[in-house]
């Protein structure tokens, strides 16, 4: 932050630094230099002192040298002409007998980020690569990478690359790792450093000499290596086995990732590795450092996607400590929900129950929602707890319980009766709009089972003038119409009042439109209304019955040990079961639309009917292959796009948005790149293959389509949808 009067300060420093009296007094001089650095850190622009600082670099005091170098590296890009003045001193230092001075000078010289520096640093770097002190070699190797990054467009010097490959055999472990890092940067455009068999095995044998940082880095580089045979694979795995149990979290996790990657075709080995790593992962989840704890929890969640049972015996490790911050508690609760089984359900629920009365309302609500999710499997126990919570008559608790009830009824209809009995109790203390919506949805959907339902609605309708939230009003409209359909005698009068108010006096357009829609619908008759308004009462996909799918390890391993699992966006990917099914209440509009299209006689069924792609039941790999081989090619076309340069996950997600399912594709950059897709539309199954053979020809993506039964119209629609998706991706990337 710029300080008031900063110019004065800089002037004063300048005066002091050029004062010969100060320069003579070593301590005072250094003191002023320290002050310059302090101001620099605080964000003050002290670049005008560059000249004086260059003078100060000619000293034998290493601490002072270091401080001045730090200054010069920061401002070199602003004052390139002045920085050149310092180069001479630095080059002289590069020939100093003391290796520490040599290394220091070389490192800082390479850190000058200014154009034209490379001609000065090239010679010292090359000399440094052959220095007898390992410290200087380390610096020189990194210097190669810095030089490359300063002038990215220049041709790569093959002699330096060769020298770096040779230095992979250096006796100093840090030099070895630095070589890998430097080569990776220099050869970025060619796909990075090449890990062939001799290099891979050399690295594996050096693993023990490396420090933990080097180990995890080398493990990451080894991800690139593919063993030739199973024998070689198992040799590698047994060499690395000890590192799975490393005391350093980052080494253990990096080893696990390599294991999962190498043993992709040996699920038993993968399972074994996961079993082995469960204890280091658990240790991380109990680490003193809360950041490490959080990272551990996020990765436990990843592992549980494939092996939900792995951590079930250790469920107590995921109980929250009261001093933990809430983001850790939330993760722990998510994990607890996933690992519930018959043995631990009682204790887990008891623990979650105690969080429901926590001081923090957010935490309490998340805990209640967690109990709600467990209720999909263990309804009775959870319903008892939830009903008990209603007795507390705390606003935020009641609100969360009602919302949980709504979701529960949607996902497991067998709990409806119990919920309907208790829901009357919480009518009075529902205040916030989320809770009101949930309550209204329950009343509308299951009004026939709740005896007092119409009277509750009446209270809401009478209080309509004071209601502020428009979404509550819309929900109220829907609930009243539904109630009218099942209990007309009690509801008719109040529905009339409600519609009248909403049409005549309401200012919010959405509410008015909704009211008008219902008004016209009712004019068409009760049966028509029933067809439109009454949707399914529970989740039609029956996700509860199909249970939790165990994902293959390959689904998440590419993301493992990266920032992915820790960032918030990933959360929605991890809980697809909760996120995917539409929330019943908020989507009254959507409930209406698909049905009304079928009912309404006004829309003429055109010959040129619109193409609606949909996914339908998933197709297995075998079924796809059989159908593909049986069918004739219907259509082949070369599209003017290249292969989409995005991650497989993103491609899959993009196509899914257009209702096209990706079945399989070639990983990475291997050629030819292929992808197999399928979709359904207008009573026909469409299978397609994308093929991209030659990277040199722009826009040579060949799409081959097969269809059963043939339907030219659907085919045209599919190809145009596909090309528009690819076009979007092309622009994005």
């Amino acid at each position: 932050m710029p300080y008031f009067g900063s110019e004065e300060t800089v002037k004063e420093l300048k005066r002091a630094l050029s004062n010969p009296n100060v320069q003579a007094d070593r301590l005072r001089y250094k003191n002023y230099i320290t002050r310059v650095i302090r101001y620099m850190t605080q964000g003050l622009d002290v670049s005008s002192l560059f000249m004086d600082m260059v003078k100060a670099s000619a000293t034998v005091d290493i601490v002072q040298k270091k401080l001045v170098y730090l200054y010069m590296c920061t401002y070199a890009s602003d004052k390139p002409d002045l920085a050149l003045l310092a180069i001479n001193t630095l080059r002289k230092d590069c020939a100093d007998p003391n290796p520490m001075v040599r290394g220091l000078a070389l490192r800082n010289m390479c850190n000058f980020r200014m154009p034209g520096i490379s001609e000065y640093i090239e010679q010292p770097i090359v000399a440094g690569l052959r220095d007898k002190a390992s410290y200087v070699r380390r610096v020189a190797v990194m210097g190669c990478a810095k030089m490359q990054s300063l002038q990215p467009n220049i041709e790569i010097d093959p002699s330096i690359v060769n020298e770096l490959y040779a230095l992979l055999r250096d006796p100093d472990p840090v030099v070895v790792v630095n070589c890998l890092r430097a080569l990776e940067e220099i050869l970025k455009d060619e796909g990075g450093v090449v890990i062939n068999k001799p290099i891979a095995h050399h690295l594996l044998n050096r693993m023990k000499d490396l420090d933990s940082w080097g180990q995890s880095e080398v493990l990451t580089f080894l991800l690139r290596y593919r063993p030739r045979s199973d024998d070689e694979l198992f040799d590698i795995l047994s060499l690395l086995d000890a590192f799975l149990q490393s005391a350093h979290a980052h080494v253990a996790v990096a080893t696990l990732r390599l294991f999962l990657h190498l043993a992709a075709t040996h699920p038993a080995v993968q399972a074994d590795a996961l079993q082995h790593t469960s204890s280091p992962l658990l240790t991380m989840c109990g680490s003193i450092s809360r950041e490490l704890r959080f990272a551990g929890l996020c990765h436990v969640q990843q592992v549980m996607r494939s092996q939900p049972g792995l951590f079930a015996p250790h469920y107590k490790r995921f109980f929250c400590a009261y001093s933990e911050p809430s983001y850790i508690k939330f993760r722990k609760m998510e994990i607890l929900v996933e690992l519930v089984n018959d043995e631990n359900v009682t204790l887990v629920l008891e623990e979650l129950r105690s969080y429901c009365t926590d001081v923090s309302p957010e935490l309490a609500q998340v805990a209640i929602a967690a109990i709600g999710r467990i209720a999909r499997t263990y309804s009775e126990k959870c319903l008892n707890i939830l009903t008990g919570l209603l007795a507390l008559k705390q606003e935020h608790i009641t609100s969360a319980v009602i919302q949980t009830f709504r979701d529960l009824v949607w996902f497991c209809p067998q709990s409806t009766a119990a919920v309907c009995q208790t829901v009357e109790a919480c009518v009075d203390c529902t205040q916030d709009s989320e809770a009101k919506q949930a309550l209204l949805w329950l009343l509308g959907e299951h009004g026939e089972r709740i005896s007092s339902a119409p009277y509750v609605l009446e209270v809401y309708i009478d209080g309509l003038k004071t209601e502020l939230s428009s979404s509550v009003k819309m929900e109220l409209l829907t609930a009243a119409v539904k109630m009218f359909l099942c209990r007309p005698a009690e509801t008719q009068d109040m529905l009339g009042r409600l519609l009248h108010h909403c049409i005549e006096e309401e200012s919010d357009m959405c509410v008015r439109d909704r009211a008008l829609l219902y008004h016209r619908l009712l004019q068409r008759g009760v049966e028509q209304t029933r067809k439109v308004v009454m949707g399914p009462k529970s989740d039609p996909s029956m996700s509860v019955l199909t249970g939790h799918q165990q994902e293959p390890v390959s689904q998440w391993v590419s993301n493992f040990n990266t920032l992915g699992p820790l960032s918030a966006q990933d959360l929605c990917f991890q809980t697809p079961l909760i996120a995917l099914p539409e929330q019943p209440s908020n989507n009254a509009e959507e409930e209406l639309l698909p049905v009304s299209k079928d009912v309404s006689p006004f829309i003429p069924t055109d010959d040129q009917e619109e193409l609606n792609l949909y996914l339908g039941p998933p197709l297995s790999h075998e079924a796809f292959e059989r159908t593909w081989l049986d069918l004739e090619v219907q259509h082949r076309e070369t599209l003017s796009y290249t292969r989409p340069r995005i991650t497989p996950d993103a491609l899959q997600a993009a196509l899914q948005l257009a209702k096209i399912q990706t079945l399989a594709f070639t990983p990475g950059d291997t050629l030819p790149w292929k992808a197999y897709l399928y979709t359904r539309g207008n009573r026909t199954l469409i299978l397609a293959e994308l093929l991209w053979e030659d990277p040199d020809i722009e826009g040579s993506l060949v799409v081959t389509v097969k269809q059963q039964p043939p339907n030219q119209h659907a085919l045209r629609g599919f190809v145009s949808t596909l090309s528009s998706v690819l076009q979007t991706l092309d622009i994005d990337s």
Binding site: L70, V174, K316, T357
Partner: protein, 441 residues
Amino acid sequence: MISQIFILSSKGDHLIYKDFRGEASKDSINVFYEMVTALSGDQPPVVMTHKDLHFIHIRQGGLYLVASTKTNPSPFTIIEFLNRLAALTKDYCGSLSEKSVRMNFALIYELLDEMVDFGYIQTTSTDMLKNFIQTEAVTSKPFSLFDLSNVGLFGAETQQSKVAPSVAASRPIMSSRGEQGGKNEIFVDVIERLSVVMGSKGVLMKADIQGEIRIKCFLPSCSEMRIGLNEELNIGKSQLKGYSSAVCVDECRFHQAVNLDEFDTFRILKVCPSQGEQTVMQYQLCDELPCPPPFQLFPSVEKDYVNRVLIFLKLRCDLPPKSTALNVSVTVPVPKGAISMSQELSSPDQTAELQPKNKALLWEIPRFPGGAQLSALFKVDVPGLSSASLLEVGPVSMSFELPKQTCTGLQIRFLRLSPTQTGLSQRWVRYVTHSDSYTIH
């Protein structure tokens, strides 16, 4: 790889800023601070992203230690590195606080320069670093009456001075060249963290102990040290437990420099400690507690008049009579809307206060001798009290410190430096148990 590393004070002052790759602008410090302060309590702050720059940070000693990166690195590596940076700062500057970082910023820049080059971690071992670090640490020595109390009557050595003061280990490792040169000390600490959940009738629902043996070494160079643990130390759950007084732990993990040749037979760890602090062994014990839980609580909650709750707590300390628990604090959630409280405590050094913001009352006991029992009566006024409000009282959580005590019973039998060690060195062994989380329903 790391683009930048910076250290901010809790108020957002820039204490340290080092840019390794020049690919992100200096403004990113302010971006980070705005983002981190704008987060609500339940959003995970550890990784944050602004455009294509990721910030990974840890909080220690009231400071933000932040690394920014444009790649997608292993979060474990970065977090452990930042933790290591914090530990090294503590080693070199004596403590980790805004003040110590401000005073020693030149030293920390020097450290960072050697630890990271072009965004890649080079080394973090004290043995390597000490050759390159030239700056001397600056420490502030506040005047303290405590120092005076160590001097006995007429300057004679008293019994008291046999115990190392608790602040003895918090000084910079490098200052030994200075006036304190004679102090060649080694501290070996056995630290356990206890987390317990107890049911309403004193039933143990969950008990975990996470322990570690930490060495803090002030010797400039140290030859091999042998640490003998309890001979009867069982590792793993499978082993049969007889009626012996064996100490059990579920699993343990060692620093990679520890030589375990004699561990299997004699339970001896051999290690050449490098200067500074390091964790030699970590162990844990789950689902059982070899000793009785240190505290038992007997609560009773009832409704007094219309708007008053009576909370009567009886707290018993089940430690052996010779030991004492320190800094015991008990937090009891109270019904929403509590406005005032009166209390009856059994001794004047205890304090209690109502914290309406946290909906809790806090009862603090500075010293709690083993075997003793304390009781307290709290009368909390809650306007509009209903019978349901009583359900809001509880669960009670406690925090405390048990010096000279390990719950697993793990002890250090002996500490031997190999005979070639020159110069007098003082060895200290200290035990402490902290409560990580102690909850009673």
